[in-house]
Every structure is written in C-alpha cells, then in structure tokens.
C-alpha cells in the first residue's frame, strides 16, 4: 500500500470490521463455533480427560458428577470423547473446506480462462458429481484405507467439483463484467486478472458455500461412520460416537443425544455464520439491515403504517 497519508480509514471497507460487529448472526455463529473449538482445544488437558482410556467394567454409566456426560460402550468418558471428537470433526471439516475451496477456486478460475481446459475440467467435475457423494466417499475411503488424511482427501474430492462449478460460473460472469474488461483493456496479464480481480470477487459466493461444506463435512463424516468408513476409531469423532451410540440407543440414549446435539449446534452456528456472511457481502441486504436493526418478533409479516405489506 502506498502511503500512510492517504490510507487511514479502513473501517468502511465492504465487509470491514464495523459491519462485521454490527452483524449479530455472524457474531453469534462465530461465538458458537469458537467456543466449541476453544473448549475442545483447552478443556481436555485442563481437566485431564483421556478420550481413549477404557474401563469396560463401568460401561454405559449414565451422566454423573464423575462422568459429566456418562460413559460409552467401552467405559470411556463421554465428555472427553465429545471434546476430542469436536477437535477431530472440526479439524476434518476445516481441512475439507479449505482444500476443496482451494482446489475448487483454482480449477474454477482456470476453467473460466480457457475453453478447451474448461471442457476437460468440467467433464471431470460432472463425472465426479454424478457419482453419489456418500458412495464416492465410501469407495474412496475403502480404496485408500480409512485414516484421517485419506478421509480428508476423499471428502475433498467429493466437495471440490461443486465449488469448482460454482466458482467457474461466477468467474465466467465476472469475465464479462466491465471492471474485468477494463483490466483487459489496460493490458493486465491474465494471471494478474485472476488474482487481483476475479479471485476477490468470487470470495463472496465462496464464503457462503464454504460454510455449507463445513457443515456438510461434519454430517457426512457421521454418515460415513455409520457405514464404517468414518474417522477410524478409537480416535473419537462425533460421527463414530453416534455410531457407537446407535446400538445402545435404548440403554444409553444420552450418547446419541449428546452427539446429535453437538452436530446440530455446530451446524446452526455455521448456518448463522453463512447467513451473516451473505448479509455482509450482499449489498442489497446490507443497505437496510444495518440501519433498521433487529426486527421485532411478530407472527405475521409486519405491515406498513397503513396496512400494506411491505
């Protein structure tokens, strides 16, 4: 950046700090996910919880002061497993999201710049998307063997084509936008156009999509666990806690309840983030959202002073 004289006020940037702070949903969502992540990072070592320590003679004990969330089918402390599972699931989801976004963006933008390349890449994407996601992940997990990084690779392969298609669509639209034409007209190189003009502008669609993928990755891992191809045990994940809880649902329903609740809360948090991001990047919704503040709670749609739906 050029000089300090000119660059002083940064706050009013689109999606700048101030508008983030005004965005309640985004804040609540980030708060929810943040506290789960923080708890997962700090609590186990702080409380000395071991998610792997088995005690089969004390299996399926209901929640008690000793075991806040009870114990699982091998007598492991469920609270410890939930927290460690949070770390696994969030890591996995974050990894999947990051890599599929990175690959998707790279492929999508590249495809928008060359017709032959576009054809090849999009046929591959179509092919990968045509195979049902869960089954593709299952086949990949079976092929590469179920460990964390292979699961990461498998889910990335599942999600990246969707992002690539989305980004390509947006990038193609952007390529005919005036500001990109302006860049072309001033002799900007393709690489610079991709990096400096296209990339920042696809971020807005990407931001919303990645939160979906983050959520989807968590739920997919649970479903894969159900089919025996999730995060390989004994390392805990929310998915395999659910799987273990399924057989003992009558005897120890709390296992399923806690794990489902964790997933639901996380996904709700992510949805809030996603909605918040959408508000943040979509100028149409931004215009009024900031000034009018929070709408009051009404059963039916609020009406204008004179009874007209607004």
């Amino acid at each position: 950046m050029a000089t300090s004289e000119i660059h002083t006020a940064e706050a009013s940037r689109p999606g700048g700090v101030r508008s983030i702070l005004k965005n309640r949903r985004l804040l609540i969502g980030v708060g929810m996910i943040g506290s789960i992540a923080l708890a997962a990072a700090i609590l186990p070592s702080f409380l000395g919880l071991d998610p792997l320590a088995v005690d089969p003679l004390n299996r399926l004990k209901a929640p008690s002061p000793l075991h806040l969330f009870g114990t699982d089918n091998l007598g492991r402390d469920l609270a410890a497993r939930m927290l460690a599972g949070a770390s696994t699931s969030l890591h996995l989801a974050a990894g999947v999201t990051f890599f599929s976004a990175a690959i998707g963006v790279a492929v999508g933008i590249l495809a928008s710049f060359s017709r032959p390349l576009d054809h090849i890449l999009m046929r591959v994407c179509d092919g990968l998307m045509a195979i049902p996601a869960l089954l593709l992940a299952l086949a990949l997990a079976a092929t590469f063997g179920p460990n964390f990084s292979n699961l990461l690779i498998a889910l990335t392969i599942v999600f990246a084509p969707g992002i690539a298609r989305l980004v390509r669509g947006r990038a193609l639209a952007l390529r005919s936008e005036t500001f990109v034409e302006a860049a072309v007209a001033m002799g900007t190189s393709n690489l610079r156009i991709m990096v400096r003009h296209i990339f920042p502008n696809v971020l807005s669609v990407l931001a919303v999509q990645v939160t979906f993928i983050f959520a989807e990755a968590i739920v997919s891992e649970a479903a894969l666990s159900f089919l025996g191809a999730g995060v390989p045990p004994p390392a805990p994940s929310w998915g395999n806690i659910l799987y273990d809880g399924k057989t003992v649902i009558a005897k120890a329903p709390y296992m399923v309840v806690f794990a489902s609740a964790a997933i639901v809360v996380t996904v709700i948090g992510l949805t809030l983030i996603s909605d918040g991001l959408r508000d943040l990047v979509d100028p149409r919704t931004r215009a009024f959202a900031v000034e009018t503040g929070r709408p009051r709670f009404r059963f039916f749609k609020r009406r204008a002073k004179n009874g007209e739906p607004i």
């Binding site: 088995v54 299996r59 091998l74 007598g75 390989p232 045990p233 004994p234 399924k246 057989t247 649902i249």
Partner: protein, 515 residues
C-alpha cells in the same frame, strides 16, 4: 385461497394414510417362521467358503452322510448305515433309499462321490483329512472311502460342523459350477429354496418329498421333518433393526443380536433371549514379520499382563455371554480334556509383564494391531487390548479396516504385528486356524509341526487325546498366541417359537410354531 387448498390437500392425504397405520402387524403369518440373520454370506457353498453362517444356513437345504445328536454322537444321515474295515482305512456307506434332491433327481452314489471329492479337495477339513482319500460309487446305493492311513475322527468330520460341512449336492450342479462356488442351492434337506432375493431374504418351503432319517429328533440327527410349512430367512444387516424387529413381532427369531440389547429384550415377557457358543477370541502375533514377538518373553509378557475379564466385557457385555478359556478347544467340546494348566488363566500381573518385556529387549518400536469394525466383539476387544498393551509399555497403534481390506491386510506379511482373531470351533485341534501353518502370521515351529503330523495319523481317540495334551503344554509354554476366552452369539425369539434346539447354530427345523 390457494394455500388453504394446499393445506386441505395435505390434511386429506394424511387422513387417507392414517388407516394404513392401524392395520396391525401381520408379520406373524400362519405356518411361516421368519428368522432374521445378519448380512447375507457372500456364498452358500460350504465346500468353498469358510464362513460359519453360510454353512449353518445352508444345512436347512443340504444334508450330510452322517449326523450328530445332541450328545455329539454319530448318527445316520443320508447314509443309512456304514461298515468300517478292521484297519480303519476303508469305509462303506449304504445310502438311504428314496432320497430325492429338491429338483426331483434321486440321490445316487455318484452325487455323493462328486460332492465329497470336491469337498475333500477344496475345504479345510476336507483337505486336512481326505486329501489322499479315494471315494468311489458301487451299485445303486453304496459309496466307499479308502484312506491311506486310519483316523479316529473320520465320521465326525463327515458330520455337520460349524464350518465347511461335507454336504451332498447333485453331481450335475457341481459339474456346472466348475471350480467356482455353486450358486444353485439344490440339496436333499428338509427345506427347499423357492425364492431367493439376494441380500434380502430366502424363502424356503417344507420339502414335501423329504425322506426322513427316522428316529427321534436330537441335535442334527433323527427325524428332521419340520412341523411348519414355510421358513423365511431375512438378511437384516443392521443389528439394531434386528432387535427392534424382534420386539415388534416382525421376526419370530432374530439371530446374533447386539449384546447390549439382550437385557432390554429380556424385560419383554413376550420374548425369550438365549445364546450359544460362538467362537474364541485370541490375540495373534505375526511370526512372518521380524520383531519383538519373536522373543518368547515378549509373548509371555502380553499373556500375563492383560486383564481378560475387561476385554471380554467389552466384547460381549454380560458374563453370561463370555467365559475365560485358556485351552485350545472350546469349553463345550467336552471330549477334549482340560487338565493341562488352568482354564481361567488371568494373572493380570503387570509388574512381571513389564519385567519380561524389558528382558525381551523391547525399546518402544511401534507396533500395529489390526482389527475390523465389521465384527463388533473383535473390534471392541481390540480397543481394550490396545489400551492394556499401551499400559504395559508397548507402543501399539490400532488400525481398523473394513472387512475386505482387513483380510487383505492380514495376508500382507509386513503390514501388522498383532491381530485379534476370532477362531471358530473345530472338531480337532489341528484344524484350529491359529495353528494352521499356512494361515497368516502363524508360527512355524518344529515341535508344533511334529505334533500336527503325528495327529494326522492318530487312529484312536486315546492317541489323539494324548497328543492334545502335548499340544496344550506346548501352547502354554510357547505362547504362539494369547488365548483370551470365548464368546457367545445371542439370539431372541418370540413366545410363538417352541422347541428350538442349537448345535453350532440354531436348528430351525426343530421349531414348533404355537398359535
């Protein structure tokens, strides 16, 4: 108002659908026994597959020359009678008259010869005993067997076992299959297959031309004619669904229920829950891969260091469903003596174990314990074992695979160090899979091979028992694998089901349906 119309439509549909829910559960059809099993075995050819369930389901369709009664004595089967030569090397079976296969063909000695030759060349027990045997047909109802050397357990081997029974199929079916597994299930048994929807269900019907073995029903012996007309075997992969279906009356019998649901189901007084011996749980070492377990001290350390009760609780939940057993054979196989060493061996001496481990020179090299999630009891045992071994100072990493990958990995010499093996019961100790020289990871010990070779030529039970004692002693000294215990299979049935007997698995033709 358009949207009100929508709501009205939805309400109407709901109202129309409601009656569907009140029809009542008509699953319990008259004269049909509905049995829920787990996933369908990949093949029902007992000559080929080593899967026990394939064998025990198939015995509703296929029959053997001889049978075992409830006390495990040999009784006639398709062979009405037999004569053994003085030297014990020649057997002469007389086939029962009037027996017909389900396709209407009469049973001939040729069918028996074709079947038993095939069984002798492809199944494990067959190859074990009969690889040099000669089968031949004589006339219309005689089959003879020539053995190179006498054996004490020829007839037991020909009787129904838990795996790879010597079943008789039509020679034509065998010819059609070639060397591949047979896919046409045509036998002489009490039930005839009338509809088979792969991986979903088998509909069997009482075979009307069935020729009874006569005598009182006992074990797999005696009169097997079913009292009910139809048997439907449903393959229900999800174990929770199996137990839920049993409790709602969808199934009359559900086999291999989750251990955890047993207690719950028992509370329901319209149901009965029981179990039968399933298999043994061992911790196997990989002798094909150089490493710390070449040292006997390391193996002994594991043997005395682990706590078996916890492992078995993790595997089978309730003490009713598991037993400690340090012997080679299952506890219910009473013919094999248990007087060598303790049965309930479980010293759990961590200190001694650690010392032994030190003596073995173990320096914390990483070790891999492989398991599969497809067998929950093995898997749970593996998790507890991994923790316990870790506690002894062994750096063990658990790797869990799907079944296909697991068997493939197990066959790979260098991929693992430890494995939790579930061994199925065998008629004699040399057939035990964890002593089989060719099985992945099994030790190649001269003493063992000598004993096995001698066992091959044991012509009397006394000699066999003597060899068994030697084998037990060797086993407890050498610690080729760590014996942990045996677990059961749990099954449940509705009160409608009476008279169900068990031998290796449920004997479904023994059931009387009460209405």
């Amino acid at each position: 108002m358009f949207y009100r119309k929508h709501l009205r439509c939805a309400a109407l549909t709901a109202a129309l659908l409601m009656p569907l829910t009140f029809i009542g559960n008509a699953a319990a059809e008259d004269g049909t026994l509905v049995v829920a099993y787990g996933a369908q075995p990949p093949s029902f050819d007992p000559h080929v597959t080593t899967l026990s369930q394939a064998n025990t389901i198939a015995r509703n369709i296929f029959e053997t020359l001889v049978t075992l009664d409830a006390d495990l004595n040999i009784q006639p089967g398709l062979a009405q009678s037999w004569v053994v030569s003085e030297d014990g090397r020649k057997y002469r079976f007389t086939l029962r008259h009037g027996v017909k296969f389900h396709d209407g063909q009469p049973l001939t000695p040729n069918d028996v010869v074709a079947s038993l030759q095939r069984w002798g060349s492809s199944s494990l027990p067959g190859k074990n005993l009969f690889h040099e045997a000669k089968w031949s047909a004589e006339g219309s109802d005689i089959v003879t067997l020539d053995l190179p050397s006498p054996r004490f357990d020829v007839l037991v081997s020909l009787a129904p076992g838990i795996t790879q029974s010597a079943v008789i199929m039509p020679a034509s079916v065998i010819a059609a299959a070639g060397e591949k597994p047979v896919t046409q299930l045509i036998g002489t048994g009490p039930f005839r297959l009338i509809d088979w929807q792969a991986d979903r269900m088998m509909e069997l019907e009482r075979y009307n031309d069935y020729t009874s073995f006569g005598g009182k029903q006992s074990g797999t012996a005696g009169d097997r004619t079913p009292t009910y007309s139809n048997l439907r075997i449903e393959f229900v992969k999800d174990e929770a669904t199996r137990s839920l279906g049993l409790s709602t009356g969808e199934y009359d019998i559900a086999n291999q229920l989750p251990f955890d649901s047993a207690a719950e189901l028992q509370k329901d007084d319209t149901l009965r829950v029981d179990s039968y011996p399933g298999g043994m749980t061992n911790l196997g070492f990989n002798y094909n891969k150089p490493g710390v377990f070449e040292k006997k001290e390391a193996r002994q350390a594991v043997d005395i260091g682990i706590e078996r009760q916890a492992i078995l609780t993790a595997a089978a939940v309730d003490p009713r469903f598991f037993r400690l057993n340090n012997h080679l054979m299952m506890r219910y196989q009473k013919q094999w003596p248990t007087d060598v060493g303790e049965t309930e061996f479980n010293p759990n001496d961590t200190e001694a174990a650690k010392k032994l481990l030190q003596a073995s020179g173990y320096k914390g090299q990483p070790l891999v314990l492989i398991t599969t999630r497809d067998y929950a009891d093995m898997y749970n045992a593996a998790i507890v074992l991994q923790q316990q071994l870790q506690g002894l100072g062994l750096n063990v990493k658990l790797e869990s695979y799907d079944w296909s990958t697991y068997v493939k990995t197990r066959a790979d010499k260098n991929a693992w160090d430890l494995v939790v093996n579930g061994g199925s019961p065998k008629p004699d100790p040399t057939q035990l899979i964890f002593l089989k020289r060719d099985f992945p990871g099994v030790p190649h010990d001269a003493a063992l091979e000598d004993m096995v070779a001698k066992f091959q030529h044991a012509d009397t039970i006394a000699k066999a028992l003597d060899l068994y004692r030697q084998l037990e002693t060797w086993n407890q000294n050498y610690v080729p694998s760590v014996r942990i215990g045996e677990t059961d299979y749990v099954f449940g049935m509705s009160k409608r089901v009476e008279g169900l007997q068990v031998q290796d698995d449920l004997i479904l033709w023994t059931v009387h349906l009460k209405d």
